[in-house]
């Protein structure tokens, strides 16, 4: 084994210099021992080209639309729409395309963030209430139906979807709450959304077997 005379230690590595002080080691005595670790590598995923291209395009689009909006300003800040759309894309899309995430949880996140986003758009272009009247009830009715389709296709995995299904079901009552608070005005969509959600929750309680019920107990333990 070689020694480092400055550090006063023996060095086992097959190296000419001391890993501690980079000083040159004394000449080798005996045979070389190979490095006891696999070669150190750098994870190149971090330097994903496609992602960089998208970042570049996003910045160009954001800056471009703000500049265009400023140059031909006619009293309407439409660039807020494009920029917030791009930000929404970056926040929500990675979650949706990641492949290890529960599909019903993706539906939940999209439904929730999408609802907030349409309310934002509604406000930006002069609030007329179409987001809470039509879009949000539709989003949650559609989500409930999408979850049922997923469960029917993948019946064995139902218990994995249960928690998110439950939250989506509860959020389906949000339009009713908004209606009772006189924020939403259109009763037809509220009735559709509320009844679809109620049916889903009742259906789960009725058709869910013992595994579904014990899953519920686990997921909601406190």
């Amino acid at each position: 084994m070689r020694t480092c005379s400055k550090c006063n230690v023996k060095v086992k590595d097959p190296s000419l210099v001391c890993p501690l002080c980079k000083g040159v080691l004394s000449s080798p005595v005996g045979e070389e021992t190979p490095l006891a670790f696999p070669p150190v590598g750098i994870d190149i995923k971090k330097f994903h080209l496609l992602k960089r291209v998208f970042i570049f395009l996003s910045i160009i689009a954001s800056v471009g639309s703000v500049a265009a909006n400023y140059l031909v300003y006619d009293g309407f800040l439409w660039s807020i729409l494009t920029v917030s759309g791009i930000i929404y894309l970056w926040i929500v899309i990675p979650y949706t395309v990641a492949n290890h995430i529960n599909i019903v949880s993706k539906i939940l996140v999209q439904a929730f963030c999408g609802s907030l986003f349409v309310v934002l758009i509604d406000f930006i272009i002069g609030y007329r209430g179409w987001s809470v009247d039509y879009v949000i009830p539709s989003i949650f009715s559609a989500s409930d139906i999408a979850v049922i389709v997923v469960i029917l296709i993948n019946r064995m995995d139902w218990r994995n979807y249960l928690l998110y299904q439950f939250v989506i079901g509860l959020l389906g009552f949000a339009p009713l709450v908004l209606y009772l608070l006189h924020i939403a005005k259109n009763p037809v969509f509220v009735i559709i959304s509320t009844s679809v959600s109620a049916l889903c929750l009742i259906g789960t309680a009725v058709f869910g077997d013992k595994t579904v019920k014990s899953e519920f107990k686990r997921r909601l333990h406190f």
């Binding site: 230690v9 210099v17 490095l35 670790f37 750098i42 290890h100 406190f222």
Partner: protein
């Protein structure tokens, strides 16, 4: 071995222990909360036998045979009946566990040449729990190798006393002590140019136990106290240049609480003590530092002190308000708490003690080492363990320079200890 699953059986589950709730929240690609304990054998590892050894060992360890699930209010563990697959060692130790990797198990068994590595996500258990699992696995592997070679009958007597005791010892030992929290003041932080992304530099120093024990006895201190003092001394000399500094050097030392509370849990049961030096002068001698370290250990290594720490951890989790907060809100709170406390920590120094195996296996094992994942906020960690006649001190670092490691091992050498250094090669990258 095939496991027949009863379609009607309800999946078994249990709660995380009180500390474990922290780890899923603070872990990501940069900070994995994964540590690795490895044993080196005298023989090359045969992957087929290692897989067989794992398949036979795992069913006994209920606390390892789990996957992590997200509930509405808390995370929980669910029994995992799938097979845990072994694999060759990857280039960077202690890397992050993607949730769906390896059938959702929260640990990995890998091999390299003659070494078996057990990498554990801290949510499962602490070092004391992991070392028992590794011991059983390695002994089973050696048994299988001997059986293959000349038909030596397999040992049925397990090497550990307790396989699986999923008691939350924090809750069990919670008494109404006055809670004592963790320090949140800004400590001195080690800075420097980072190594390339996700790369960790590992420097391992091996020393004879006999020499260090003799030295510590002559000073009237324990080995952990001595090494903590060397650590503070090295930082004081190397980074503070022996000058006063308004930010204290804080070395955080994890302590296994099982002996203090007579627990045999195989889940987490540890706490941290913070030992430090607020340098106000420029003439501290090493003996001054030894004295203050010894005094601080004496004050903090008591059952009462840990009871107060447990009270702090548990009182939060027992509060009704906290219990009914949705998990994602709890997680935001935990993350803030973690960020507040982690800045009051210069370096972690963890000594998990001796790796003891029955007599018949000793001749097959040449060494053991413990590696902890370093983080960007706490870029260096030091971990210590020992086997038979040698003690192994490992530095894991995200920083390119090795001033601290150099000062540390030079101090040991100056105190008359024979040090043998080994590295993972990360520090040679620029030279080749």
């Amino acid at each position: 071995m095939t496991i027949i699953r009863n379609a009607n059986s309800e999946a078994k589950w249990h709660r995380l222990d009180n500390t474990a709730n922290m780890f899923p929240v603070i872990s990501n690609r940069n900070y994995s909360s994964v540590y690795r304990i490895s044993t080196r054998l005298t023989i090359q590892i045969d992957p087929i036998l290692l897989q067989k050894a794992l398949d036979q060992t795992l069913p006994r360890f209920g606390s390892f045979r789990v996957r992590l699930r997200r509930g509405f209010f808390w995370y929980y563990f669910e029994a995992n009946d799938k097979q845990c697959l072994i694999g060759p060692e990857q280039s960077n130790p202690c890397s992050y566990f993607l949730p769906a990797q390896n059938n959702h198990f929260l640990f990995r068994v890998t091999y390299f040449e003659n070494r078996i590595n057990l990498e554990v996500f801290h949510v499962v258990t602490d070092g004391a729990g992991a070392i028992d699992f590794l011991k059983e696995l390695v002994c089973r592997y050696i048994d299988l190798v001997l059986f293959e070679k000349d038909g030596t009958p397999l040992q049925e007597r397990p090497t550990v006393d307790v396989f699986s005791d999923i008691e939350d010892s924090y809750l069990k030992n919670f008494v109404g002590s006055k809670p004592v929290g963790y320090p949140t003041d800004q400590a001195f932080g080690i800075k420097g140019t980072k190594l390339p992304i996700y790369t960790k530099g590992v420097i391992i120093g091996r020393i004879p136990i006999k020499q260090i024990l003799t030295l510590c006895r002559s000073k009237g201190i324990t080995v952990t106290q001595y090494l903590t003092a060397v650590m503070i001394w090295s930082i004081y000399r190397e980074y503070l240049n022996g000058e006063p500094n308004k930010e204290p050097i804080h070395v955080s030392v994890p302590v296994n609480l099982r002996p203090y509370f007579e627990s045999t849990t195989t889940m987490n049961f540890f706490s941290m003590i913070s030992v430090g030096l607020l340098a106000t002068r420029n003439d501290y001698t090493f003996d001054d530092i030894v004295a203050t370290v010894k005094e601080q250990f004496g004050q903090k290594l008591t059952r009462e002190y840990f009871a107060a720490k447990i009270a702090y951890n548990v009182s939060f989790a027992k509060s009704l308000y906290v219990r009914f907060l949705p998990l994602f809100i709890k997680n935001i709170g935990l993350k803030i708490t973690y960020l507040r406390t982690s800045k009051s920590n210069t370096i972690t120094l963890s000594n998990i003690g001796r790796f003891k195996v029955p007599e018949r296996y000793i001749s097959f094992i040449t060494g053991i080492e413990l590696i902890m994942g370093a983080t960007n906020s706490e870029p260096m960690k030091c971990s210590i363990c020992s086997f038979e006649r040698s003690m192994v001190i490992t530095f894991t670092s995200r920083i390119q320079d090795t001033y601290l490691q150099r000062a540390f091992f030079r101090k040991l050498a100056a105190d008359g200890i024979n040090v043998t250094i080994e590295s993972n090669g990360a520090y040679y990258e620029n030279l080749q």
